[in-house]
Amino acid sequence: MTDTVLDIRNVSKRFGDNLANDDISLSLAKGEIVALLGENGAGKTTLMSILFGHYVPDTGSVSVMRQMLPPGKPRAAIRAGVGMVHQHFSLAPNLTVLENVMTGTESLWSLGSNVSAGRKKLIEISQRFGLKVDPDARLGDLSVGEQQRVEILKALYNDARILVLDEPTAVLTKLEAETLFSTLKDMARQGLSLIFISHKLDEVMATADRIVVLRGGKLVAERNVGETSKAELAELMVGRKVTRPVREASTPGEIVLEAAGITVRSGGVDRLKSVDFRLRAGEVLGIIGVSGNGQAVLAQLLSGTIGRSAGDLVLFGKGAGDLTVADAVSSGIGRIPEDRNRDGAIGEMAIWENAVLERLPEFSKAGLVDRKAGIAFATKIISAFDVRGGSPTSRIRLLSGGNMQKLILGRNLIEHPRILLAAQPARGLDEGAVAAVHERILEARKAGTAVLLISEDLDEVMALADRIQAIVGGRLSPSVNAEDVDARRLGLMMAGEWGGSADAV
């Protein structure tokens, strides 16, 4: 290629026993979008950290515009025109957008700050790339998608010609992600070169020109987007054929959970408005919706962490009263929280403590915790659910996202719950872990568990659910059979257009 802007040559990096990057070479042309695809731990982030000067490679070199970058110097990388958009933004929430963007661009020793020039430049860039943002808004008041826009603007403000985005869609809603990708394409058309790190096949196929697959620290394949398929990429990424499990036909049993006219009011707003649904043993009911439409509240309600303002909840044929967490757990509701790091685990506590925390009454005698039984319980989950990366006594924070999710699934499913409440169960997981989670959910369904699946991932819901209801603005649509709808119809339902044609429950 004639217009090579970035050339990574034979880079290797070892951490202890772990060869994170093994002789990787990669180049990037002007105006090109390259996707760096790989599972968690494949070495994507390490490679980008070397490019950006956060890490010094053991061997190999990085050159930008035919100039060799000195290793381990982020400043040199920035000056050469490399911009990084981190997965966890490196922005200060108490500063304004403009202040955030300008931070680090001026000498610490200069007394004044040339705010008006900065503002002019920021507005100019934001118009050129269609990244709309209010320079004087406080960063903390912005949505996650807007904060990411600021992070991109900050890189562009530093005159970046090469932009690296680390899992840019991990924190975004579907709609925000689509906006982001059209912006990225526009930036490429204007001559910027982009690398984005991802493990999501759809977005990679839709956005990138070229796809580079890393596995176990090695570059295993390089494909132009027209010459490959999702199936091939998945296989390259995982190293074996991955097949997402298929839902078999089944006949659902009796109704185990019935909600009628449930309303949840908080802060003067109806978070849920007169919601109705019925959940039967041995079926998966999918609740689909763009996040922020009340599905989190529904999950909290059924988890027992918040109460309802009106409506009836009938659990196993009996009124559920004020459902508490203890009620939910003891009556056999397995719960997978939407945010596993915030709600699903106490990072600094041991794996076994996390396994038994919600069922301490079972694992204690006279107020004393039965440590032995707890460890045995955790050991059982670890082996039955193939949790890797930790022993029962190691802290749960050390587990990868997928393994933590397997543990959370395990602590719920190992006791064969009658109901499983799964909120965004595969969010942020890589392809192999998604398949494992889905398989477990379908297994539970087969064993007669009633599954309430809350998700914003269309593919996930269509693959797992027997019936689907959409949630929009706190209201729940009538249910439709999964066989009778396609992605287009579901998209309409998520937009609130569910018409009058509901299928019978």
């Binding site: 203890a326 915030r342 925390l357 919600e358 915790v369 190691s394 050390l398």
Partner: protein
């Protein structure tokens, strides 16, 4: 250079941390001693001999350590659950005055075996009440307890000052503001004859082990740890957050109140406004030095008491200001915080 989270913390590292921190603090304080023109090693030797060189000094150091263990535990228990109780000093005084008043008026004449436990309960209860108020404000109105507990220290101290210059004033004290003496039967038995060392030390150490047991083995201990480490995760797992904090506050405030009770029953026998040389505040330092470990609190309290008693003696014989003790303890705290950081992170280049 950047900091990277350590994946594993070895036991050796955890044990070595406070020791290295104290050594670092002594080294830095040594520079100050040298700057004051005194030989450093001799000064430290003097501190050690002044604190433990004779029967009198050793018992004095242990007597000082007893309330520090209790106030240290009070802070450690609360901090573990992320309840920032800075009000140990006020709870200490309230516990002391409540016990002194109850002994002089309510329980006077009761035999020791009955009276002393009753006074412990009264004193602990007073400390509890003083912490439950800020906790209620936090749970009900989200008022930051750092501010309320800190300011209540002054309220408590002035309240005690009012009492001992008013209704509880000892008429036999020649006009000095001090409370009436506690009943003779309420005085704590001595641990050693001809010394000020009383059974409070044993009580404090036993309580430290008890707290350790509660924190590591009981349902309440696991739940309060979860509540402190990740409140929303704890709520999801069904931990009653409010109730857990109330119990934590009762233990924390109770311990600080008990520290005051034991000090007044064990050492002085009456309350003045200089009963505590800042035991409540030093308890925070002790807890942090111990990395909030209840058994570590015992050792940290011993270290702090050693520095304070030893520095007094060293200052008399070498002419260095006793403030060197404050400086050393403060430096230990700072180096401990740095050391704890390095048990969690490593430096990568």
């Amino acid at each position: 250079m950047r900091f990277e989270r350590r994946e594993h913390r070895s036991t050796l590292l955890v044990i070595a941390t406070p020791i290295l921190a104290v050594i670092a603090a002594l080294a830095i304080a040594g520079l100050l001693i040298a700057a004051a023109g005194a030989p450093v090693f001799e000064a430290y030797w003097k501190i050690l001999t002044s604190a433990f060189g004779s029967r009198l000094s050793a018992t004095e150091t242990l007597t000082r350590a007893s309330p520090l263990i209790l106030t240290g535990l009070a802070a450690a228990v609360a901090f573990r659950a992320r309840l920032w109780n800075i009000g140990g000093e006020g709870q200490f005084y309230l516990g002391a005055i409540a016990a002194a008043a109850a002994s002089a008026h309510l329980f006077a004449g009761l035999p020791s075996l009955l009276q002393i436990p009753l006074l412990f309960i009264v004193g602990a209860f007073a400390g509890m009440v003083l912490l439950l108020v800020p906790l209620w404000l936090r749970l009900r109105f989200s008022v930051d307890e750092v501010v309320t507990t800190l300011l209540l220290n002054f309220v408590a101290l002035l309240f005690v000052s009012m009492l001992i210059d008013g209704v509880l004033k000892d008429p036999a004290a020649f006009g000095w503001p001090q409370s009436e003496a506690v009943d003779a039967a309420a005085r704590l038995p001595k641990l050693l004859a001809r010394s000020r060392l009383h059974i409070g030390l044993g009580i404090a150490v036993v309580i430290a082990f008890l707290i350790y047991f509660v924190q590591t083995r009981t349902v309440f201990g696991v739940q309060s740890r979860a509540a402190g480490l990740n409140p929303s995760g704890a709520v999801f797992a069904g931990v009653p957050l409010g109730r857990t904090l109330v119990i934590v506050a009762m233990i924390s405030g109770g311990l600080a109140g008990l520290a005051g009770t034991i000090e007044v029953l064990g050492v002085k026998g009456y309350v003045t406004t200089d009963l505590s040389p800042g035991y409540g505040y030093s308890g925070i330092v002790v807890a942090m030095l111990a990395n909030l470990n209840p058994l570590g609190v015992v050792l940290a309290a011993l270290f702090t008491a050693t520095m304070f008693v030893g520095a007094d003696g060293m200052s008399r014989s070498m002419g260095i200001p006793t403030y060197i003790a404050d400086v050393t303890v403060a430096l230990s705290l700072l180096s401990m915080l740095v050391a704890v950081f390095f048990t969690q992170y490593r430096i990568r280049r």
